[in-house]
Amino acid sequence: MSRIDFDIAHLLAGSLVLISFLELYQDRLYALLNVFAAHALVLAASVAWQAFIQDAPHLYVTAAIALTFKAIVIPVALHRIIVRLGIHREIEKVVGVGAAMLAGMGLVALSMVVMLRVTHGADPLAREDLAFALSVVLLGLLMMVTRRNAVGQVIGFMSLENGLVLAATGARGMPLVVEISVAFSVLIAFIVIGIFLFRIRERFDTVDVQVIDRFRGERR
Amino acid sequence: MVVIRDLIIQGAQMLLVLLLAPLFTGFVRKVKARLLRRQGPPLIQPYLDLIRLTRKEVVLAESASWLFRVIPYLVFAATWVAAALVPTFRTGLLFSWSADLIAIIALLGSARFFLALAGLDVGTSFGGIGSSREVMIASLAEPAMIMIVFTLALIAGSTQLSNVAEFMASPQVGLRVSLALALIGLVMVAIAENGRVPVDNPATHLELTMVHEAMVLEYSGRHLALIELSNSLKLLLYVSLLACLFAPWGIEAAGASVPTLALGAAAYVGKLAVGGFLLALFETSIAKMRVFRAPEFLGVALMLGLLATLLRFVSGSF
């Protein structure tokens, strides 16, 4: 493949990591949603690029899904939820932004170390992509465990999953990528609907996970 | 022929101890009285007591069981058998091998076991006191005795009383530390087992300090006679045990002729006299101790015995 292809793919993957950091940085829900939309957008672009350079048309489907579903539908839906449930707009964090950032750095470094052990037999693009994907995944997880309220966690989960899609598309010629991305979209839909359900059935007066946990086991 | 002769001698031995026992008791009392500047009862007083008691009718408590009536005979039998197995004037008795030193102690133990039961049978508080104290004393006296037996057995290489006695008589046994310890221990045990001063006082009644007398308080008539007799037998047994172990001179070996046997018998009586005198002297010169001092007293005996055994274990030269 030509040099430029490589650089573009590299650039997209790298910027995905960067946006993950931005998500980690946000402390207002709306802003977070917008950043996530950007995240999904970049992902879509990267997937499309992969489809182009691997000339694997089915990947365009994945890209489309990423674009429509993650970059538009979900953010809008979450917007609605926030409005509907009147969640206050602050994101309660467990650790401060600075600490989260530092942790994020550490994770990125870790994923680099782990991935660069891979022998050069695998083509470099795949290696770099995997390294980035792993960092995105870890950052997503980090976000899930440092955010207190459900929307934040959902977004964390989704960016984690973006990392997965990045890795999957980066894996040249991997079958079932489309199916998997669809399956994941279903999963996320479930989560979102789940939040709705809790609200609509008047079960919980907020989706703050801690409050849900008030009903944890052995409390009878 | 030999068997018959041995049988006769064995029988003679049994009768001898049976007849000598009350006399010895009387002798000790007499000496004690004399030492206290008293006239004292005649030597044969114990015989008279026994006869009087056997003549009397038995007054049995309503709550007494059949066991209460059997026990005196059991106690007497066990003690008598034990006493008959201790060589007095001749070793190698016919049945001496039927029970060694450990068995003799166990026989006395069973006598005490049943006597203690008798103390509980009628269900009076005094009997209870007696039994519980008796077993407490025994629980220390018996192990002490066993330890002493160990020492002797390890010196003589046998628990067979006749063999031990013969070995003791032989010149190869010199003065040994362990022997001395064993002697002291055995004397202490003997005093405790026979309920003599300072552990118990055979002459007291109606005192909360008494042990043996309280246990047999409910006995009367022939039962009491048997128990008294077995007490005398026990006393005699211990003295002759001391005699044949630590003063084995004059004990005839098996197959000795009749005159020498007579000589041995004379020596035996002499030893008894000395033993009785010493006992009386000791008893008059010391005061009775509290009941709960007795464990300490016997604990010393046990320690002595254990020490002696340990020495023997560590080296044969002690």
């Binding site: 891979v118 695998a122 991997m174 079932l176 999963l187 059935r201 009903f215 086991g217 009878r220 | -």
Partner: protein, 479 residues
């Protein structure tokens, strides 16, 4: 492709699910449910005799043969059990007819998903199947729609999804490792191909992949510290589902792990998966053993005991070697049968006593002798006492381990002992003592319960040579 047994175990549940989703009426649907599981079981048993050649997507070999038969069997008995159980739930009104219909449909979907995960010859397909199984169980756990049920479902859902995500990443990595060797396309995700070529894979990639798979599927297996969803899901869902979860879903996830362990075992340069599994196993065992002490809910109690035993099984497979692997397989089979039997008993007990609180049930052997003694027998079995099967597996595991790694064996035995003590502490207050709670007659179906216990008992005393040969063969495969 032609209809063979393998497609059978997939098609029958799928069709049944579709039917049950539309058919009304409890009587028919429940019966149909049983019928479907019966057919599936028959198909699975037929695999003993005619085994189709591995295709691109589907595969049956000794290893998953064991699991398929076990799964379909327990699925069958559980459906029989839920016949009476769900009936009772309808009477008491805890479930409404539409939900019962939903339950039956979901039950078949779950069966389909688990069978698919087992027969899949493609790591991607297997992953999809396990995700499907997870989602269905999530829905079933939440079926009572009480605070606790929904909360348990939610917890299960979130943790499960994360697990799934991690597993997927691992799967992708495996593909990445395979591609340079095998080339692009489906071939690089087929077990049959992977196992043969795994020796040439990039070890570093394999290691990272295994870490992710261990955590991803380990979440499903319920190994500590990934176990959090398990106790609540067991406690709040309907009991048949608890039985299936403990008896089957955990096994399916474990099966996936074993497959990947085989891959790493082939590759000499890769890190040995044994130590990781041993560590997680012991951690789960000891942790769960201590957690048993403070349990007040009977179903949560046995859920923790499932974690404990999954720990033991993971430990056994981690130790490896013919004896330990054999013991691991045996233990897994026995645990599935015993634990589901226990949940059958517990389900009826909870229905009779009208509560799951241990404090409110007592003197069971006096109020309900059959149920009580069945429960005792189950606990005796799960505690690894003779004459039941788990004693044999624990005997083999401990003895074989103590000769090789005494320290590990001591930790193992310590955990087992603590667990046994805790189990019997609870059992005493349930089965003995002054009778508490209602002593109403239980309309229970004892057949599946005692069928399982009988099998476990038989295994403890005598194992048919055919089964033994099969197990030994599999143990050899696991290396």
């Amino acid at each position: 492709m032609t209809f063979d047994a393998v497609t059978g175990v997939l098609v029958i549940p799928a069709v049944a699910a579709a039917l049950l989703a539309v058919l009304p009426g409890y009587r028919i649907t429940a019966r149909l449910n049983v019928a479907a599981t019966t057919l599936t079981l028959i198909c699975a048993l037929s695999l003993f005799f005619v085994r189709p050649a591995p295709g691109v997507y589907l595969l049956v070999d000794d290893l998953n043969g064991t699991f398929i038969v076990l799964t379909t069997f327990v699925g069958f008995t559980t459906s029989v059990f839920s016949l009476s159980y769900i009936g009772h739930e309808l009477e008491t009104g805890r479930l409404t007819p539409p939900f019962v219909r939903f339950y039956h449909a979901m039950y078949q979907v779950l069966m389909f998903a688990m069978n698919l995960a087992l027969v899949a010859n493609n790591i991607g397909l297997m992953w999809v199947a396990i995700e499907l199984a997870t989602l269905t169980t999530v829905l079933m756990v939440g079926i009572y729609r009480t605070h606790e049920a929904l909360e348990a479902a939610w917890k299960y859902f979130i943790l499960g999804s994360v697990g799934i995500a991690l597993a997927l990443f691992g799967t992708i990595l495996i593909y990445m490792a395979a591609r340079p060797v095998i080339g692009e396309g489906l071939a690089a995700m087929e077990w049959t191909v992977l196992v043969t070529r795994a020796g040439a894979f990039d070890p570093a990639l394999l290691n990272v992949a295994f870490v992710f798979l261990l955590l991803g599927y380990g979440t499903k297996v319920g190994l500590a510290p990934l176990h959090a969803w398990l106790p609540d899901a067991h406690a709040e869902g309907p009991t048949p589902i608890s039985a299936v979860l403990s008896g089957l879903l955990l096994n399916v996830a474990l099966y996936a792990l074993l497959r990947f362990k085989m891959l790493l075992a082939v590759n000499a340069a890769a890190l040995a998966p044994g130590p990781l599994m041993v560590t997680l196993g012991l951690l789960s065992l000891v942790f769960a053993a201590f957690m048993l002490y403070r349990r007040r809910d009977i179903k949560r109690l046995f859920a923790y005991s499932s974690i404990e035993h999954m720990g033991i099984i993971a430990f056994a497979f981690g130790m490896g070697g013919p004896i330990a692997n054999f013991a691991g397989l045996l233990h897994m089979t026995m645990h599935s049968l015993t634990k589901s039997a226990i949940f059958f008993a517990v389900g009826h007990v909870a229905q009779v006593k009208g509560t799951q609180r241990i404090a409110d049930m007592g003197g069971l052997t006096e109020t309900h002798p059959v149920l009580g003694w069945a429960l005792i027998l189950g606990v005796v079995a799960i505690a690894g006492l003779p004459p039941l099967g788990i004693f044999m597996s624990e005997f083999l595991i401990v003895t074989s381990t103590f000769a090789r790694a005494p320290l590990l064996a001591i930790i193992l035995v310590f955990g087992i002992l603590v667990g046994v003590a805790a189990l019997f502490l609870r059992l005493n207050s349930i089965a003995f003592g002054e009778p508490r709670g209602s002593s109403a007659k239980a309309q229970a179906s004892y057949v599946p319960l005692f069928a399982h216990l009988a099998l476990v008992l038989a295994a403890g005393i005598y194992m048919p040579p055919a089964l033994v040969a099969w197990f030994q063969n599999v143990a050899g495969l696991l290396g």
